[in-house]
């Protein structure tokens, strides 16, 4: 069964229009026209007429969940969510940044989404191995079944197989390239701190200039801050103008968290984020 | 040091520290140049500012509080910042003793337009901590060589409490002089306060300077400016004759780093002094 992007687009428009018309929501976060077909833009429809501007195609990779925290608490928002995006919403609900009752989730079961910069299909790398949204109120289309599902952690194998030295060489090369534009943290739905630790000057956690030492401090600490919260949407890597594969590191941390604490990020609104939680019977083995 | 590099500070020594207010968070620092050639080069006018520079902490743009007529030193009055944003430079400065050496870049920015002010009556309105460059202007105008160049001078200065008034000794001196009218007010007096009480805008209304051939020079917290401006409009002052000094975050101070950009002006090099007429031309982005 192939995905009909057109059909999803039509349904998105209809649902958005309905929700805005009835006043159930004041805002629909979806996708709109960019400067060409291959470059759609995140879009916020604010009235029923806006709904006609909504588009959906295979380049709509953006995770709309990052815009949720921008609006005042209590704003009724409908949001288009793909698999990973729905996990981001769940995670934000867990962290009490948004309330479940303020949201209408328009679930999009989809595969074959492409990176608008490279045209590469991103399923195998970053959708957490999911095609159907984890949480939704309205499903736009039919659930995807029968697609091959790989473990989201498969891509890590070759990096885990490296020895320490080789891995260090790999990461050093990647981090050294960072120009500190902070697109990664701004594109991340879970990075909402203001100010970000790296912008603080007292205490000063790391150097502001883009060289190895500050870059390492920024990225490693960011990986830690997202431990057990990263929902594997891959926005950080797609946002990066110099293509640092940040998603690999996030994935590794997510994998370790899942193994150690038995819980993946953003799978249930009943969960608590793993690092603000503990179990008395956590094993000391995790420290070994 | 590098003569042609606007980013390298000149070394200066703190020769005197004056604790200005009873909350001890505003101090005046009197600085002396360590290189005579720097001192010769440092020619400034009231209203200009400098970057105080402490290696390891950073730089802070501070208005020059002394008048160029005061030879041998430059003085800066600095408030310890940190209520909201940790102010590294001002905190370090406040922890310093006399004899410490710091860096200084300047003079930067434009000044109060002295030529424009000449032969006019001047009303100086200041509020709280923003009185520093106004003090520079007043001392400049009061100097015996300069006094005759200006008409009547009226100073209206207010602070929240008597203890928060800056430059108390000078205020007393000015009150004794007969070539300057000094009106000091506090929002709320204490048991020893015998002077005026009331907010600056109300006092301005009371004093009611005549707008004829008069320029108002206003500097203070935004809320004071907001309520004082209508008073001067009512009195009949034109927008060209109301001057103020703008504040923006700055880094380089020489119009290169782009930070203090408001419309087509850089506050650091095209300002900080603007007339109200000029400000109205700029987008409300400050």
């Amino acid at each position: 069964m192939a995905i009909s992007f057109k059909q999803i687009e039509d349904k998105l428009k209809t649902e958005a229009k309905g929700l805005l018309e009835t006043g159930k929501v004041s805002l629909v976060l979806a996708y709109g026209k960019g400067y060409d077909e291959k470059h759609p833009m995140p879009y916020a429809a604010k009235n029923a007429a806006d709904a006609a501007n909504i588009v959906f195609n295979e380049y709509c990779a953006a995770n709309m969940a990052r815009y949720l925290v921008r609006y005042p608490r209590g704003t009724k928002i409908a949001i288009a969510v793909k698999a990973a995006d729905s996990r981001a919403v769940i995670q934000l609900i867990q962290e009490d940044k948004v309330k479940r009752e303020d949201l209408v989730l328009l679930g999009i079961p989809v595969y074959g989404i492409k990176n608008f910069k490279t045209g590469e299909i991103i399923d195998s790398k970053t959708t957490g191995g999911l095609y159907n949204p984890v949480l939704y109120d309205i499903l736009l289309g039919e659930e995807v079944h029968g697609q091959p599902v790989n473990s989201p952690y498969d891509v890590l194998v070759q990096y885990e197989a490296m020895d320490n030295e080789a891995r260090w060489v790999f990461w050093k090369k990647e981090f050294d390239r960072c120009i500190r534009c902070y697109a990664c943290r701004k594109a991340c739905p879970m990075c909402y701190c203001d100010p970000c630790f790296i912008d603080q000057n007292k205490p000063k956690w790391g150097e502001k200039s883009p060289d190895s030492q500050g870059n390492l401090m920024y990225h490693l600490t960011r990986f830690h801050h997202l431990a057990g919260r990263c929902i594997d949407c891959g926005e950080c890597s797609r946002a990066c103008p110099v293509d640092i594969p940040l998603y690999l590191f996030h994935k590794k941390v997510a994998k370790e968290c899942e193994e150690m604490f038995g819980q993946a990020a953003g799978m249930s609104i009943e969960d608590k984020p793993v690092l603000v939680n503990f179990r008395v019977d956590d094993s000391d083995k995790i420290l070994a | 040091m590098c003569l042609n590099n606007p980013y390298i500070p000149m070394p200066v020594e703190i020769i005197k520290i004056i604790d200005e207010v009873d909350t001890h968070d505003i101090k005046s620092f009197r600085l002396k140049f360590l290189n005579p050639e720097d001192e010769a080069k440092f020619k400034y006018l009231p209203g200009q500012f400098s970057e105080l520079s402490i290696y390891g902490k950073g730089e802070s743009p501070i208005g020059i509080a002394s008048s160029p007529t005061q030879d041998g030193y430059v003085e800066f009055t600095v408030q310890r910042a940190g209520a909201i944003v940790p102010g590294l430079v001002t905190a370090a400065l406040h922890d310093m003793d006399e004899g410490a050496k710091i860096g200084l870049r300047g003079p930067l920015g434009n000044s109060w337009p002295i030529e424009f002010l000449e032969k006019k009556n001047i009303v100086v309105v200041g509020g709280g901590f923003a009185f520093t460059t106004l003090r520079s202007l007043i001392n400049y105008m009061l100097h015996k060589d300069n006094r005759s160049r200006f008409g009547e001078i009226t100073v209206i200065y207010g602070a929240r409490t008597p203890g928060l008034l800056l430059y108390k000794d000078e205020l007393i001196q000015w009150e004794k002089r007969n070539d300057i009218r000094t009106v000091i007010t506090v929002d709320k007096g204490d048991e020893t306060w015998t002077g005026r009480q009331g907010f600056v805008p109300a006092v301005c209304k009371d004093v009611a300077p005549s707008p004829a051939n008069t320029v108002a020079v206003i500097c203070g917290p935004p809320i004071m400016i907001k309520f004082t401006l209508p008073v001067f409009f009512e009195l009949g002052f034109s927008k060209e004759n109301i001057l103020t000094s703008l504040e923006m975050r700055m880094k380089c101070g020489v119009g290169k780093c782009g930070r203090c950009n408001v419309g087509y002006k850089y506050v650091c090099s095209d300002g900080p002094v603007f007339s109200l007429a000029q400000l109205e031309e700029l987008p409300r982005d400050f």
């Binding site: 990096y159 320490n164 030295e165 080789a166 891995r167 260090w168 060489v169 790999f170 990461w171 050093k172 630790f197 956690w205 790391g206 190895s212 030492q213 390492l216 401090m217 490693l220 600490t221 990986f223 830690h224 431990a227 057990g228 590191f249 590794k252 941390v253 370790e256 968290c257 150690m260 604490f261 793993v274 690092l275 603000v276 939680n277 503990f278 179990r279 008395v280 956590d282 000391d284 995790i286 420290l287 | -």
Partner: protein
């Protein structure tokens, strides 16, 4: 000259730090390579401390806290356990040898254990040699 590692110890005030005191007062011998920073609880340790320590030239980092269940603040070390475990995984995946970072639960009465852990950890780091990956050259 043989390699003498620099090791940063971060010890909780109520257990490990007191344990270290006990090791001292009972005149137990342990290597001098450890420099201890006292924190009120192991959960006060920001993972950035550890990354930064390695950047500033630590060859190893040893964190000491109360035994799980004994925390002076009841649950501090239970949070710390998870947090530090993640920090360890991050260090490993970035390419630092796993043996350079260790967390140990040492109570106030375990002066012996403190001395043993420090001796063993110092030897382990010594065997790994100088930490060069994160270290910022002076």
């Amino acid at each position: 000259m043989s390699f003498e590692p620099k090791i940063l110890g971060i010890a909780c005030n109520w257990c490990t730090y007191t344990g270290a005191d006990l090791a001292g007062t009972t005149r137990l011998q342990y290597p001098q390579n450890l420099r201890v920073v006292r924190v009120m609880c192991s959960s006060r340790i920001n993972p950035s401390f550890i990354f930064r320590a390695f950047q500033l030239g630590a060859d190893g980092v040893l964190v000491g806290g109360c035994h799980p269940g004994d925390c002076h603040y009841n649950t501090g070390n239970l949070y710390a356990r998870r947090r530090l475990a993640v920090a360890k995984k991050i260090l490993e995946f970035s390419g630092i040898e796993p043996g350079r970072f260790r967390v140990e639960w040492i109570s106030a009465s375990e002066g012996n254990k403190f001395a043993e852990v420090v001796t063993e950890f110092t030897q382990q780091v010594k065997n790994l040699g100088p930490q060069t990956q994160f270290k910022i050259s002076q």
